[in-house]
Amino acid sequence: MLVVNDCSEDRTREILEESGTDHLNLSVNLGIGGGVQAGYRYAREKGYDIAIQFDGDGQHEACYLPALVAPLEAGEADVVIGSRFVEKEGFQSSGARRAGIHLLSWLIHCLCGVQVRDVTSGMRAVNRRFIGLYAEHYAQDYPEPEALLYAGLRGGRIREVPVRMRERAHGKSSISAIRSVYYMVKVSLALLLGRIATRKEAAS
């Protein structure tokens, strides 16, 4: 397990060092995109076959990890998303937020033909090919939908597996009520631009 410490101001660094947990300390706050990408660069350096992205705020549950990596191990997918909306169980987020997620899901479907319901889920597993691609190219500000579009455009086989999520135990979402409008506009634009900037590859 690798923890990415993106300039936490609490005792994160001390705790990581005392417990001997493998971690990366980013010396400048890069935000979620830069932090996740640092993790993918680490996985590439170590030559891992599979990398799993897992939020540290208590939303994700480790019991779903075997189901998450199963399609990768079977060679049936390149990117696997842990999705709240397949079986509609557990914490479902607010109605407005779900509507936003559905809109982004539809947009991604239009832009690259990939049908994923939970496009903002941060619980993901990718194989070696996408470890390498994400290490080189990962969206920076609100990266989850963009990273998905990128995977779709690069011919990745994307699979959703049902998971339950909890309401986050600690900390706040990086997306507050007022900023959610900004989020939608920014991500939609970024997706459109991403479609223009990335050459489409046939599915492998």
Partner: protein, 123 residues
């Protein structure tokens, strides 16, 4: 037509601007790579103020009645070009910083690993 008075003032202003640019370049306060657009804009404006006839034909071409307004249009065009180039530079710089911070964290991680190994190997 622009007045002779304005023409002389414009020439002097552009020359002063180019002089400042060249002094800064000689002192190495600006890198040549990022000053090329400034130099280019200065030279365009200098040519236009030395030969106001060009400006007159240009304003007729784009359908502007007053040559002074055409001069403003050219000036604004230069500024927009410069600002786009700044955005491009900032974007590139941002990308490089992200990469550097990530590489540094990876190196730190490796260093820690080596230190731990050295600690274990010590008899």
């Amino acid at each position: 037509m622009i007045s002779h008075r304005l023409q002389i003032f414009a020439i002097l202003a552009v020359l002063a601007f180019l002089a400042v640019l060249i002094i800064l370049l000689r002192k190495n306060r600006l890198s040549l790579k990022y000053s090329l657009l400034w130099l280019f804009s200065g030279i365009v404006l200098l040519i236009l103020s030395l030969f106001p006839g060009l400006l007159d034909s240009f304003s007729r071409l784009i359908g502007v009645y007053s040559s002074v307004n055409a001069l403003f249009a050219v000036l604004i065009g230069c500024i927009i070009l410069l600002m786009i180039s700044f955005t491009a530079i900032v974007s590139k710089e941002k990308k490089e910083i992200v990469r550097l911070v990530q590489e540094m964290s990876l190196l730190e991680n490796r260093l820690r690993e080596l230190e731990e190994k050295a600690e274990e190997d010590r008899p």
